[in-house]
Symmetry: C2
Subunit: 375 residues, 2 copies
Amino acid sequence: MSVQNASRVLTLPDSLPLDSGDALEGAVIAYESYGELSPAKDNAILVCHALTGDQYLASDHPVTGKPGWWERMVGPGKPIDTNRFHVICANVIGSCMGSTGPASNAPDGRPYAMRFPVITIRDMVRGQISLLDGLGIERLHAVVGGSMGGMQALSLAANFPDRAARVLAIATTARHSAQNIAFHEVGRQAIMADPAWAGGDYYAQDQRPDAGLSVARMAAHITYLSEAGLTEKFGRRLQQRADGSAGAKSFGFDADFQVESYLRYQGSGFTRRFDANSYLYITRAMDYFDLAEEFSSDGRSGHLGNAFAGTTARFCLISFDSDWLYPTAESRHVVHALNASGAPVSFVELSAPFGHDSFLLDVPALDRVVAGFLE
Amino acid sequence: MSVQNASRVLTLPDSLPLDSGDALEGAVIAYESYGELSPAKDNAILVCHALTGDQYLASDHPVTGKPGWWERMVGPGKPIDTNRFHVICANVIGSCMGSTGPASNAPDGRPYAMRFPVITIRDMVRGQISLLDGLGIERLHAVVGGSMGGMQALSLAANFPDRAARVLAIATTARHSAQNIAFHEVGRQAIMADPAWAGGDYYAQDQRPDAGLSVARMAAHITYLSEAGLTEKFGRRLQQRADGSAGAKSFGFDADFQVESYLRYQGSGFTRRFDANSYLYITRAMDYFDLAEEFSSDGRSGHLGNAFAGTTARFCLISFDSDWLYPTAESRHVVHALNASGAPVSFVELSAPFGHDSFLLDVPALDRVVAGFLE
């Protein structure tokens, strides 16, 4: 899946070095921006997207036609105010919305597929920094992200400590837990179990591994919601029948319960906008993420505080009480490390019923904290 | 998968009526028993197994060769003491270890496959009661079960209130939540997405939907463990390499992390002992389970207390603090209903690190509560 109408594209002039030891030559970064860049280029905010997100932060998605994924947060007069700030959002490398990823053509003119190098969160951040270099932006007013976007924000602060004055990391973690890895592995196995995956070489086929990707999305989607949120939204309510009558158990395997129908819809909708190989690569990058390990002397264990030793930024961490994917303890762990390295940090756990997805949804307290921190 | 060496098999003399309105003709119940039945037939304990369990409670599994799933609990001198009690465990209908299920031949001589009727937990209990009738056991000393076994224990108490003097329900619920249904739906979709599933008609094929069933098992398995337990057991530790050297990231899609390798092993091992269609039918039965609904006047909503109005049994409910699949609140809900209907009930939440699977594992406090309640 390659998007031709990405409005802005930067081809990196230099090869992009990767943690694996490989490098990407001629990598492309597709991005969107909103609001004017000041003449001093000192009002830029980089927003980093999550696993299945993209650069269409505050403008319609070219495939789905739906509004941008953070329109409620980014725009004129909104918490990330495009009347004041130049807001940039780039598709991460490895993804499929215009930046170089497994669906892109390799130098030999054929899609990389599984020949694409395994990347890390730090590699994604290297791509973001190369984009900022290309745009002539030396120091960001802020780097902002939720979930995997928050991982990038923390990684940017640790690896490029002079490039951002503020770091806002929401519903995220400094390292992927065993349970996080386990859920991702289920998704990867679901994709790879689909015969249409064909070892990743499905781009020239009629059929794509939609069935496997859909199952992967369904499993992941449950982890984005809270148990209480699911109960409130669906409970055990049955689907209305086609004739409009109230639902009854079918004693079959149709989607009897509303929650089943919802999940199936989430799964199949996802396959229309996302590339299965990208899902493999990006989940792998998240699983590899362990910021303390990156900054340890032996590459195995380390103190997270070391990662932030060189930082000059102010930090803000936000967690949600109903998020069981990256629970508050993960944010607290980052906050303690920042305290240990003497960085200024504020932290708040917000109460919201939507689980991990709260950072994308209507949580007025989140808007206030974001607006306040960026002032 | 049909087990020929099930040591005991009862063919039901009458047709087994089902909640769907269908009936099973000539159904077979495969069971095991341990300990002597007293001449008065008043020392029988029925243990009900969980989703993927079977009748091999305290004797080696004929397919895997592994010890019975509750050997630590059931045996001479153990908490469920076979020196005193006659302990019965039957494979539930719909399963695949000798009792009639989708892999069994229908009256036309071909496997039922998806022609097998959708069953409920109450239907499983009807099968258990038919077995007790066949064995001449009028009233159980106790019915005992964990997880889906606990659902059967509660259903038996509600639907056949004179048949058990004691009801011990562990790590269970009186109804499946939206999140429970969602995880099951992921598993079913994984199976049905596997082309080898072939609409359920795979029994005559060389290939079975092992890939899909394995993914289903992996997703479910995560829900059986606690986040803390996974962290303690695996954390982010890497696999040892084949040459015995300490692991390193492969920058590939092999199982780098121990938790990935463990999940893959769980998934593939499961396919050797379980039938994919049985997985569909049994998860469906669990999703349909809502004891209050069964006893409501309109078949939709109801007070759980009504379900226990006719009971003469003593109850014991046990939950585990790290069980997020059927958390303590679910047991409390049952306890409140029993209180409302005036039934004697004791309840304890045990502290154990293993999540939902705690009921199968080494939790000495569980042994003490079980032994004490059965005295």
